[in-house]
């Protein structure tokens, strides 16, 4: 496929702008020596180019997308239409407040609903992604301890099964990361936790259901242990889709949460963003929230705000989409969505567990983790090989090699928006590939064969980085 720069021909263009109707600008400042080599294309070629690119991109509507921990559910179209309303897209962020009352209502309503769903008291919509929400929540914890003069609380406890963003966010917030082992069932090891907490504990970060797809039955003991040591409990909402409307982080003992609107609340992932990662907290932390919150038709800053984690009010249009979703599925739809996400995952797990060893054979939540460790030992076929074979079968593979505590992991999250037939077809494909892997292990490393490119050489890419087009001069 040609690069846009390879399609470019000098002098080709489309006229979009009328002629200048005022005197020309006379620069009194240094100018660039040469024009930027941006592509020169007529609009027809621009359209063709990106249409080509779109054909080599796999979206949720191209097929089953059981990418664990990513919640690749259907992205409803009404959400997109609502976010594209000129009454939202045309608003300058610094307009007078009386001219943006509808936008403030969006912010106020969704904050109320998300607080109700999580059991929190206040929320900022400023964070633009999950990791950004984590960072924000941790800064709330930091500001809280600091405000009490409790400066020795410098450690954040993170289970070894956590997403990489958890320890990275904690480090960015200036905390030292204490990693604790999971027990044999994939849960937090309570004894290890008791030993880890102390007077320097700032808090604990936890995903529940956790990153192996299990709901930790000791959740109340866990939050109690941390609270008794004087720490706060942080809920990573990456997996909220399993329990929204079923159980609330606030009731489990969590003080701070972040949500991923682009996972749980059906907004599209856009090939990596934009997302939205609101950060919520209990009332005693609300005074530290960053940014401006909409309160009674006005934008207000918290009294001891940590500042801003992004400009303005966050990814507002993404928030509009999530609000549309909540209004559509409503009070009854929220738990029904969660229950069906969990049911679909358990259904697939039951249909696969005789062939694919489950890392933890336990009732799973919205996702489950399989380990290909035995297969790798006996046949030399890896989790990566299975994933690549799935590409040839036309479905997006599960998440590979995560969590790190499971060897040769494949993590499957079907979501609630898939039909039973889709699950059955995927199960059949997984089983067929397993059989092929046993019969012809030697060909598995050659997969995929039917995709636009074969396996890329990642070593070459990293050893000699080429990260921009080299123009022929």
């Amino acid at each position: 496929m040609k690069l846009v720069f390879e399609r470019s021909r000098a002098g080709r263009k489309t006229a979009y702008f009328p002629a200048l109707d005022v005197p020309a600008w006379k620069p009194e400042t240094p100018l660039r020596a040469e024009a930027p080599r941006l592509p020169e294309l007529p609009e027809t070629e621009v359209d063709r180019h990106y249409t080509e690119l779109s054909k080599q991109t796999y979206g949720v509507n191209n097929g089953f997308y059981p990418l664990g921990s990513c919640t690749m559910k259907y992205n409803p179209k009404i959400n997109e239409d609502m976010a594209a309303l000129p009454g939202f897209t045309g608003l300058h962020p610094l307009q007078p407040m009386e001219t943006v009352q509808g936008a403030l209502q969006v912010m106020e309503d969704i904050e109320k609903y998300l607080c109700e769903i999580t059991g929190m008291d206040a929320m900022t919509l400023q964070p633009a992604a999950g990791a950004h929400g984590e960072f924000t929540g941790l800064l709330l914890i930091k500001a809280y301890h600091k405000s009490r003069g409790d400066e020795k609380r410098t450690k954040i406890i993170v289970p070894d099964s956590a997403h990489g963003t958890n320890p990275a966010s904690a480090a960015m917030a200036g905390f030292e990361v204490i990693s604790i082992d999971s027990d044999a069932h994939g849960f937090v090891d309570l004894d290890a936790l008791r030993q880890a907490v102390g007077e320097n504990t700032a808090g604990l970060m936890l995903t529940n259901p956790n990153t192996v797809g299990l709901f930790d039955p000791h959740i109340l003991e866990i939050t109690q242990i941390v609270h008794e040591a004087g720490g706060l409990c942080y809920y990573d909402g990456a997996n909220l889709n399993a329990v929204m409307g079923i159980a609330r982080p606030g009731d489990m003992g969590f003080d701070v949460v972040h949500l991923n609107l682009h996972k749980t609340f059906s907004t599209p992932h856009g090939g990596g963003g934009p997302g939205s990662g609101p950060s919520g907290c209990k009332a005693f932390l609300a005074e530290f929230l960053p940014g401006m919150r909409a309160v009674d038709g006005k934008l207000e800053r918290a009294s001891r705000s940590i500042g801003d984690v992004r400009g303005f009010y966050g990814n507002f249009l993404v928030v509009v989409k999530a609000l549309t979703y909540i209004l559509t599925i409503g009070a009854a739809g929220v738990p029904e969505t969660a229950a069906n996400a969990v049911l679909n995952a358990n259904y697939m797990k039951e249909k696969l567990k005789d062939l694919y060893p489950m890392a933890y054979d336990h009732v799973c939540m919205h996702e489950f983790v399989m380990s290909l460790e035995q297969m790798k030992k006996e046949n030399g076929v890896t989790a990566m090989d299975i994933a690549k074979a799935l590409l040839d079968g036309g479905i997006h593979p599960p998440t590979m090699y995560f969590p790190l505590i499971v060897h040769e992991a494949l993590m499957v999250e079907p979501t609630e928006t898939e039909t039973k037939e889709t699950l059955d077809e995927a199960v059949a494909l997984f089983r067929q590939i397993h059989e092929e892997a046993l019969r012809h292990p030697e060909i598995m490393a050659e997969k995929p064969e039917k995709t636009p490119i074969r396996r890329p050489d990642e070593v070459l890419a990293a050893r000699s980085p080429v990260i921009r087009y080299a123009f022929e001069d």
Binding site: Y401, E458, V459, A462, R463
Partner: protein, 125 residues
């Protein structure tokens, strides 16, 4: 797997070759084999102080990053800048692909000779 006799080894899979009052440091054949194709190395700067047993560099494969620990306490006299441009040398010839030359050596971690290290590696396998 190669275990040259003229080197000493650490339990964290670094080698050290003394030369006069100084020493060269790198990672072992076993280490590079375990790490897979190495794509980048983060090296210290001349004049940096190394602490025996503490990380002083790290090496990256495509999907992992690993610390490289200092076998000795000392001061960096020379850095193998070529390694940064050709990280594959660590895979191809690990005992020639030295990271740093260290002087003013004061302390060392527990070191093994080739035979002891070979046995140690066999146990790890």
């Amino acid at each position: 797997m190669n275990f040259p006799k003229d080197l000493q080894y650490t339990r964290t899979h670094e080698w050290i070759r003394y030369q006069g009052d100084s020493a060269y440091i790198g990672i072992t054949d076993y280490a590079q084999d375990q790490l897979g194709d190495l794509v980048f190395v983060n090296l210290p700067e001349e004049g940096d102080e190394l602490m025996a047993g503490e990380p002083f560099a790290d090496v990256e494969s495509v999907k992992a990053v690993s610390d490289v620990n200092a076998p000795v306490t000392g001061v960096v006299e020379e850095v193998n800048e070529e390694l940064a441009d050709a990280p594959e040398a660590m895979n191809e010839d690990p005992y020639e692909a030295w990271f740093v030359k260290v002087g003013e050596i004061s302390a060392t971690v527990e070191l093994m000779d080739a035979e002891a290290y070979e046995a140690f590696v066999a146990e790890e396998e």
